[in-house]
Amino acid sequence: MRRLEAEILVIGGGATGTGVAWDAALRGFRTVLVERRDLTHGTTGRYHGLLHSGARYVLKDPDSAVECSGENSILRRTHTHCIEDTGGFFVVTPEDEKDYPDRFAAACLRHGIPCEELSAAAALRREPLLNPGISRVFEVPDAAADSFLATHATAQAASQAGAQLLPYHELVGLQISGAEGSRAVTGATVVDAVSGEEVRIDADLVINAAGAWAGRVAALADIEVRMILGRGVMLATNTRLTNTVINRCKMPGDGDILVPIHTVSVIGTTDEQVNQPEDLRVEAWEVDLMLAEGDKLVPGLSRSRILRAWAGVRPLYQDNFSGESRDATRSTALLDHAKRDGIGGFLTITGGKWTTFRRMAESAVDAACAQLGVSRPCRTADTFVPGVEQGHYWLGHRLEEIEENRLQAELVCECELVTRSMLENAVRRNPTVTLDDLRRDVRLGMGPCQGGFCTYRAVGILHQMRAAGETGPQEPAAPPGAAEWEVDSLQSPARSENVAPARASAGPVQVPPGEAPQVSAAIDPQAAVSQPNLLLRDFLQERWKGVAPILWGQQLRQERLDELIYLSILNADHLPGQEEESPMSGFYRLNSED
């Protein structure tokens, strides 16, 4: 059993947990973060990507709105490159109540949310596919955020500040010591999901940032935290229908947000109360509802090609709440279990929005300081994560870099413009277990063919890297000591080309003394998860899970082509090692019994 020590142990590698680790490390705490899967695998990686201006909640939940508004301007500074400055419209469609818009505008003014009315004609000139029947339009500073990249960038910032982040480490127990009346959480036991090794982590304080799983984590300390789990379904279209975030100007409801994010538009969401954080089913009625509601924003949306459907589970919390999850507050909940349950050294931070993750982290670490009896100010609002110098994201950046640097022949994924060195860079510079982890890093397999062409290529490239690690000391599979979480070049074809070790000339990389070489399990010849056939099967099933709910028309045809490739040409269902399993295989098959 390995042992680690920390002042602050963070449970959960979503936006909030990673933000807590960043904040705590910047305040000088020895910090460790554990996450049972890849960073952002939970709700963070399953949301639509809307950086709220606050306007959406301005009438329903003004506290949350004000929080969002403040954080919106901060994140634009601290995480600039993770944000596309799309702006947002609130549009009044013929179906929306007529008195809401004026109340909405007045409330925005009252709460300091920038909001400007423009004519419907002007809005239609900017977004010609919008419903021509809209009567009024308000512009607000909504934006589109890449929650994968932002969390990885936060992780890199945390790592640079000294935090240790351990993805694929699942919490199995909390250590509780002390006599009745002075009991406290003093650490945790986690299991390395790749190696199966147990790790014991002693900590002065544990912060539960497990999101939808927060109730389960608290239960390990015999504490009841009744999470309100609201499952939301989203669909991605194969092109961007608008370049501006579109909201319906009405009380928040189902299917009233359309977010342009990277190459697609995402329509969302539903809000179904569920009992389990992994109840990620996408029901047929939810797909139909999203399409019907989407048509009200962009007529014809329901006839566009849908690439994928997925669900995320909102981790909401409200004391003594007994309503529908749609009506539960989006505000942050910080539970000090010393006061609430008589167990010290343990905080739960939950609720909130992706937009407010930094603020949530701040409040959690403030409370940690108070409990640890120190006074250290929060620095995250004025600290830039690595990569901000790239400026705001814009859609053409990959294409521009590929054309300027003539990298067309290097493409591994033509849909999302992923080059070979982007893939190599991602697997070398941040812990990778499955191809799905690489998808979150570089958008591998997220385009119209949903992995049809790139799955095979990615497996081949990873296998080359793995084989090089076995036999070629001149070219280590991952440069030992290359810092984890070097993610500021992940999304950039040109920068990846430059940072990837030159294949022939790279000398041995210096390993800082005392630091173990960090190898991605996906290319570690010793790790069972690096079996190429397993990587292939896992990713094919992972992609299938998200296309199955929306397969019709051209996308159905696309999947038949993918069958042709993987069955007829590759015969991937008759490869050796059918029995191999990764830590994720079971999840990809979830809800698959028939």
Binding site: R457, L536, K545, L564, L567, L570, D573, R589
Partner: protein, 440 residues
């Protein structure tokens, strides 16, 4: 007046048109696009797996009777399939692209396990990930990949080619008990171009200088082993490229391994078919999507196609539907769960609701029900209505549009295309000019 208008220019449509023309019929082909022949591996997969089974079919002649009774192969019978295959082999041999059973090809005579005579035996060739591919007929360049040959192999890739991973192939071959290793030769010694798609490389290897250089480099890395290369050995001058390699590498056997679409062996096959049709005087018109038709009672009078400027009517005595399944575009499934045959709106066997279309596991060996939907036909390949009678007196259907088969799961894609295409053409020929009028 045309005797037969074929709709669709995949392997089914082109081969049926060829067979009908050989039988003396006046034939034309109209198609929306280029067909899907160049998406596949260029092999003739006749029957690789029985539905739901993991074990490959060793001999299709023995396996066909085990198929469900409604399967197109059961409908035709083994002899008809065999006849179609012989006709196909005659066509491609005439076009300079000979196909043979990889279990019986001349190269294999004398090798342990080679019977030297053609029967229904499948061979296991090598997939681009190193899995065995059950194949009946293969072009000459793919036959020596036969895994029954126990001599060691070296799989040779080209650096930077994104669609070929020799060490991955070799590792999977070794895991299955074969002797194989991977090696790479530098592509930049062959070309300054950086576009290294299979098609681009195939064009490169049409050039004698590149052929010679490749032969030298391959001879350097191969230590007396059989040599596996990506299927890029020439597009238009493939035979010459192979001869050159054979000569330069001595008697050493080398073979091609197919790659992701677009597939060079598929393109070669497509080209051979089109050239043979041109030789028969059959026109193949692409860019003509069938979009309407007119009837007189139970006869189809004409089919209308979209063209660049205006719809065009094609009259014929008979019509053959060879538009393919969901992949080829002959069948469309919509959001409401309706599947529709796109030209004649023929009755389809299909799952009732979209919720029944798919299985939860992508690689489920039973396949996904929606991909098994299609047009039910009688023994003469005529589409049937719900009562079991032909829908139209002069309409025929063949290939992936047919019901009761999932050609991709069964690895029967080309077998279904050739066998049913030929059978339909023969049935039309009998209808138009009763035997023994047809001569060869």
């Amino acid at each position: 007046m045309l005797d037969l208008l074929v709709i669709g220019a995949g392997l089914t449509g082109l081969f049926a048109a060829y067979a009908a023309a050989r039988a003396g019929l006046r034939v034309r082909v109209i198609a929306k696009g280029m067909g899907a022949t160049h998406w596949h591996a260029g092999t003739i997969d006749l029957l690789g797996y029985l539905p739901g089974e993991q074990k490959p079919v060793a001999d299709w002649v023995e396996a066909v009777p085990e198929l469900p009774a409604a399967h197109p192969y059961r409908n035709l019978g083994v002899d008809a399939i065999r006849t179609a295959m012989v006709e196909f082999q005659r066509l491609v041999a005439g076009a300079g692209l000979p196909y043979e059973s990889a279990a019986a090809g001349p190269w294999f005579a004398g090798v342990a396990g080679g019977s030297g005579e053609q029967d229904g035996r499948n061979s296991m060739l090598i997939s681009p990930v190193g899995a065995p591919r059950p194949v009946y007929l293969a072009p000459a360049a793919q036959q020596p990949a036969n895994l029954a040959d126990t001599r060691p192999m070296v799989i040779v890739g080209l650096t930077g080619m994104p669609d070929f991973y020799p060490t991955l192939i070799a590792e999977n071959l070794c895991r299955q008990g074969h002797r194989a290793r991977g090696a790479t030769v530098p592509l930049d010694k062959l070309t300054a171009r950086r576009d290294n798609s299979p098609l681009q490389l195939a064009r490169l290897f049409d050039e004698p200088a590149a052929q010679a250089r490749l032969a030298e480099m391959v001879a350097d890395v191969a230590a007396g082993e059989r040599v596996g290369l990506p299927a890029v050995l020439g597009l238009h001058r493939h035979a010459r490229t192979c001869a050159h390699l054979q000569e330069a590498t001595g008697a050493r056997a080398f073979f091609e391994i197919p790659t992701l679409p677009p597939s060079v062996p598929g393109l070669r096959l497509d080209t051979a078919l089109r050239e043979s049709l041109a030789g028969q005087g059959v026109r193949v018109e692409t860019g003509m999507e069938a979009c309407g038709f007119g009837t007189d009672g139970r006869r189809i009078e004409w089919v209308e196609s979209e063209t660049g400027s205006r719809p065009l009517r094609h009259s014929a005595r008979n019509f053959l539907l060879a538009t393919g399944g969901i992949l080829g575009g002959g069948i469309h499934g919509d959001r409401c769960g309706r599947v529709r045959e796109v030209v004649f709106d023929l009755p389809l066997t299909a799952p009732q609701a979209r919720s029944q279309w798919l299985r939860p596991l992508f690689l489920d060996s039973r396949g996904h029900p929606v991909f098994q939907c299609g047009v039910a036909v009688d023994a003469r390949c005529q589409p049937l209505d719900e009562s079991g009678a032909p829908v139209y007196d002069n309409l025929w259907a063949a290939g992936a549009v047919l019901a009761h088969t999932d050609p991709i799961r069964e690895r029967s894609r080309e077998g279904i295309a050739i066998a049913t295409g030929y059978a339909a053409a023969a049935a039309v020929a009998r209808d138009v000019s009763p035997p023994p009028a047809a001569d060869n």
